[in-house]
């Protein structure tokens, strides 16, 4: 030892540690690399997890907890859909526990639906804005739990009856705020009420109202909040009913509704009854799975890396038993020994996390280019560096303590 140790100033011994590391370059490089790659995976995984959870937490606009839907498919030759729908909806709306019920062509977040394009000027040459279409009657807003923030709801007299293969559209529509703003970016959404928009290139529809928020069926769609309501019921063989219940009564109401509808008309089949909660769970199943898998990977990876550091540090302690004993015999305190190993690990980790920061950005660039992910926020990187430092220090602490407990006498014993 070239320096004498004094009690007034702590000698950090970076020089000797560094020289010792150079003698075992490969070991140090391996740990640094392992830390770097671990950090790359963990930081990018956390980023993906955060992004996916954000997507899942977006507000669907409807009452997720208290809504469900079902389909009623008529199969007999003389099945009369308009009459059945009218009877069904009257019965459903009268049922205690039900807030409102409607016939609808598609269900938000269910992954299947109908989309159209709307234009602010008529003609094929103008660009349109894509939107999901929900066909509802005047109970639509109440059943979907959306609020009108400008203009007004459809009146009962506005509601048309859509037949199979119909091309013509009603002359009124209600838009979401997001859709109104996408169509008319330069004016406040309130002024969109009364404007004419064009569907099928040239067919005019007047915007009678704006609703706060409602999501399209396709959760992976970029314009998830572009939605239009069309005042219609449908004369199709299969009808979908969307039902909103009083809070907490969904499950009991679902059972009642199934029985009620199945018994009221034997010429049809009630099927696909499903709550919105379950629907959203299915639509986001890929996200949920990805989050769980990445979380597991992160935990296992951290453990593997930490154990690797513990293993290597233990070995290095065993290798240096004699030197440590000698240092202790020459007056080094236990904390000086602990400090030596902690500092050694800190230096190695530092190289690792700096390399890790570069690799993290590199992997993110690849993910952005290949899979269309967003670019990572900068603050993930210092946080990731900090976490890996802590993991390294935590892992090396045990072996360092063991090293500190090596008795000075060991220096003499093995010779």
């Amino acid at each position: 030892m070239s320096n004498t140790h004094t009690s007034t100033s702590i000698n950090w011994e970076i020089g000797p540690i560094f020289r010792a590391m150079l003698r075992n370059k490969v070991g140090a490089i391996l740990i640094a690399l392992q830390i770097a790659v671990t950090m790359t995976i963990i930081v990018n995984s956390v980023y993906i997890i955060v992004e996916r959870s954000k997507e899942m937490q977006r507000d669907s606009g409807i009452d997720n907890e208290n809504s469900f839907y079902l389909t009623s498919v008529g199969f007999t030759e003389n099945f009369n859909t308009p009459v059945t729908v009218e009877e069904d909806l009257n019965a459903l709306r009268a049922l205690p526990g039900i807030v409102d019920a409607i016939q609808i062509n598609a269900v938000p977040n269910s992954d299947s639906g109908w989309s159209m394009g709307l234009k602010t000027q008529p003609g094929v040459e103008h660009d349109g804005v894509g939107t999901a279409v929900y066909m509802v009657d005047e109970h639509g807003l109440n059943a979907l739990d959306v609020e009108i923030i400008a203009g007004e709801n459809f009146a009962q007299t506005d509601i048309g009856m859509r037949v199979v293969g119909q091309v013509k559209w009603p002359d009124k529509t209600i838009l979401t705020k997001a859709m109104a703003e996408n169509l008319f970016p330069d004016i406040p959404y309130g002024s969109v009420v009364g404007k004419t928009v064009y569907i099928n290139d040239t067919e005019p529809m007047i915007v009678v109202g704006i609703i706060d928020k409602l999501q399209a069926p396709w959760v992976g769609w970029n314009n998830l909040e572009n939605v239009m309501l069309s005042p219609e019921r449908m004369d199709y063989k299969g009808s979908r009913y969307f039902i909103r219940t009083e809070p907490g009564q969904r499950d009991s109401v679902m059972k009642q509704v199934e029985e009620l509808l199945a018994n009221s008309n034997k010429g049809r089949l009630i099927q696909n009854m499903r709550s919105i909660e379950e629907t959203r769970e299915r639509s986001y199943r890929g996200h949920t799975a990805m989050i769980k898998i990445l979380t597991t990977v992160m935990i296992i990876l951290t453990i593997v890396t930490a154990l690797g550091i513990v293993g290597l540090a233990s070995f290095s302690v065993n290798q240096r038993k004699k030197q440590i004993g000698t240092r202790r015999a020459l007056g080094a305190s236990q904390s000086a020994i602990v400090r030596y190993f902690m500092l050694e690990n800190f230096l190695i980790s530092s190289i690792g996390v700096i390399l890790g920061a570069a690799l993290t950005i590199g992997l993110n660039i690849i993910l952005v280019n290949t899979f269309g992910l967003d670019r990572i926020d900068w603050f993930y990187i210092p946080i990731g560096m900090l976490v890996l430092w802590i993991v390294g220090q935590g892992a090396v602490f045990g072996p360092a303590r063991k090293a500190a407990n090596i008795p000075p006498a060991l220096a003499t014993r093995t010779v």
Binding site: V26, V37, I41, V124, A289, M290, G311, L312
Partner: protein, 438 residues
């Protein structure tokens, strides 16, 4: 000698049980994660009909909007055909076999008063569908091509449908009521689930095969509902179902069988001529662009392999890399710890290559143990995938023999690669210095 090395290796592994366990577990975790994701990717990108995939072609023609390409990519062609074009192509019979096809559904009313009606999916196709895709039959045969032309109400059942409606017996010649109409059963097919379901990837590349099959021409005749994806750039000219069918909306898939390059070139000529003729009638406003994709090209174009699956595969390879770095470090430490023993053996006359072989055997053993344990982890991983993603991945999360062999070879190769440097280092010590420290 090999046996002796194995004995030595076992001894050495046992001497540092915790360290050995750590290495084996690290390799096992890396292999387990990689195998799980490789399996899913391998099955997603599998050739669903290997003996014929080069002779089956999906047709694309650019019938889209004059002002906009089919999607943001200017080169993109519509992924389906209009009912009109698919019907024309099929009737032209320019290929060895051909079939327009679509998806529909209806309620089956089983015979007997207490039997409950249930909804079933329908594949609408021409009779060539069955021969072209080698669909296996248990009972009966594909319908006659006259049934296509005459729009006869004939039907082919899936094995499962035949079991639930007819108890699994030979139902050929019997009648079944679907969507309120009577159909005559002409055949029952055996289990047939191509993975991916290549013939209609727009409507779910890993969805189940339809439960019923009937002539495509019945779509128009019976006005069967369109269950599959439908996409329009222009609204139909007129009201009603006929106008919808005859519109520019795309909702039909079309496959042809072309046995060789000449047939393919001739078919391409036919398509180009067809489009040119249609242009004169005022259709096909975009520049002439048609495409024939064989099965694997089509899977690639439609990006059948889920992006998440690819992403996870790359992440799992990095995971394996960390585990291997870990193993290299630990092996290095372990062999350094043995330097006294190595020095002694060198001094006693063992050659470097002997020692090299000995330690390679040891690393290979750790690798193989890790590989076997990794297979266990892969099985767990695949079970996890199944429980996370639900039914749709059932066919995508099963290990087969080739995957097991791949797993073991990756484990073996990577562990030996990981062991090379530590082994080389261990064998290159000066015996004298090691003996001195004793």
């Amino acid at each position: 000698m090999f046996g002796y090395y194995i004995k030595l290796a076992i001894k050495s592994v046992k001497r540092n049980p915790i360290l050995s366990l750590l290495m084996i577990t690290a390799i096992a975790l890396g292999i387990g994660a990689s195998m799980t994701t490789i399996t899913v990717n391998y099955l997603m990108s599998a050739d669903p009909i290997p003996h014929k995939s080069h002779q089956l072609f999906h047709i694309q023609v650019d019938s889209w909007d004059p002002n906009n390409a089919f999607n943001d990519d200017d080169e993109a062609l519509p992924n389906q055909l209009t009912w009109t074009d698919a019907t024309n192509f099929t009737l032209a019979k320019k290929a060895l076999r051909q079939s327009a096809m679509g998806r529909s559904g209806g309620i089956i009313e089983p015979p007997g008063d207490d039997a409950k009606p249930f909804e079933a999916s329908i594949r609408l196709a021409y009779t060539d569908f069955f021969g072209m895709f080698d669909v296996p039959f248990i009972f009966g045969n594909p319908w006659d091509s006259r049934s296509d032309t005459n729009r006869e109400q004939v039907i082919i059942l899936s094995k499962r449908t035949n079991e639930s409606v007819f108890g699994g017996e030979n139902s050929v010649g019997k009648t079944i009521v679907v969507a309120g109409r009577s159909f005559q059963v002409v055949g029952v097919i055996d289990d047939w689930q191509p993975i991916p379901k290549f013939y209609d990837v727009n409507n779910g590349a890993f969805n189940e095969t339809e439960e019923l099959f009937m002539p495509f021409t019945l779509k128009e005749e019976l006005e069967l509902p369109n269950w599959g994806n439908n996409n329009c750039w222009k609204s139909p000219d007129g009201e009603g179902y006929k106008a919808f069918l005859q519109s520019e909306c795309i909702n039909t898939q079309m496959w042809v069988e072309l046995p060789n390059a000449t047939a393919k070139a001739e078919y391409m000529d036919y398509l180009n001529n067809y489009v040119m003729e249609q242009k004169e009638l005022g259709r096909f406003p975009r520049p002439l662009k048609n495409r024939l994709s064989n099965v694997m090209q089509w899977m690639e174009r439609q990006e059948v392999v889920e992006e998440d699956a690819k992403m996870m595969m790359w992440l799992s390879f990095m995971f394996l890399l960390v585990c291997l770095l870990n193993t290299i470090g630990l092996l290095l430490a372990k062999f350094t710890g043995k330097s006294a023993e190595i020095g002694l053996r060198l001094a006693l006359g063992a050659s470097k290559s002997d020692l090299f072989k000995q330690h390679l055997v040891e690393t290979a053993m750790i690798g193989l143990l890790g590989g076997f344990a990794g297979l266990g982890f892969a099985v767990l991983g695949l079970l996890g995938i199944k429980s996370l993603y639900g039914d749709f991945v059932d066919d995508l999360a099963t290990l087969d023999i080739s995957m097991i062999l791949v797993a073991l070879s990756i484990a073996l190769v990577s562990s030996i690669a990981a062991g090379l440097y530590p082994t080389w280092r261990a064998c290159n010590i000066a015996p004298a210095s090691q003996l001195k420290s004793q």
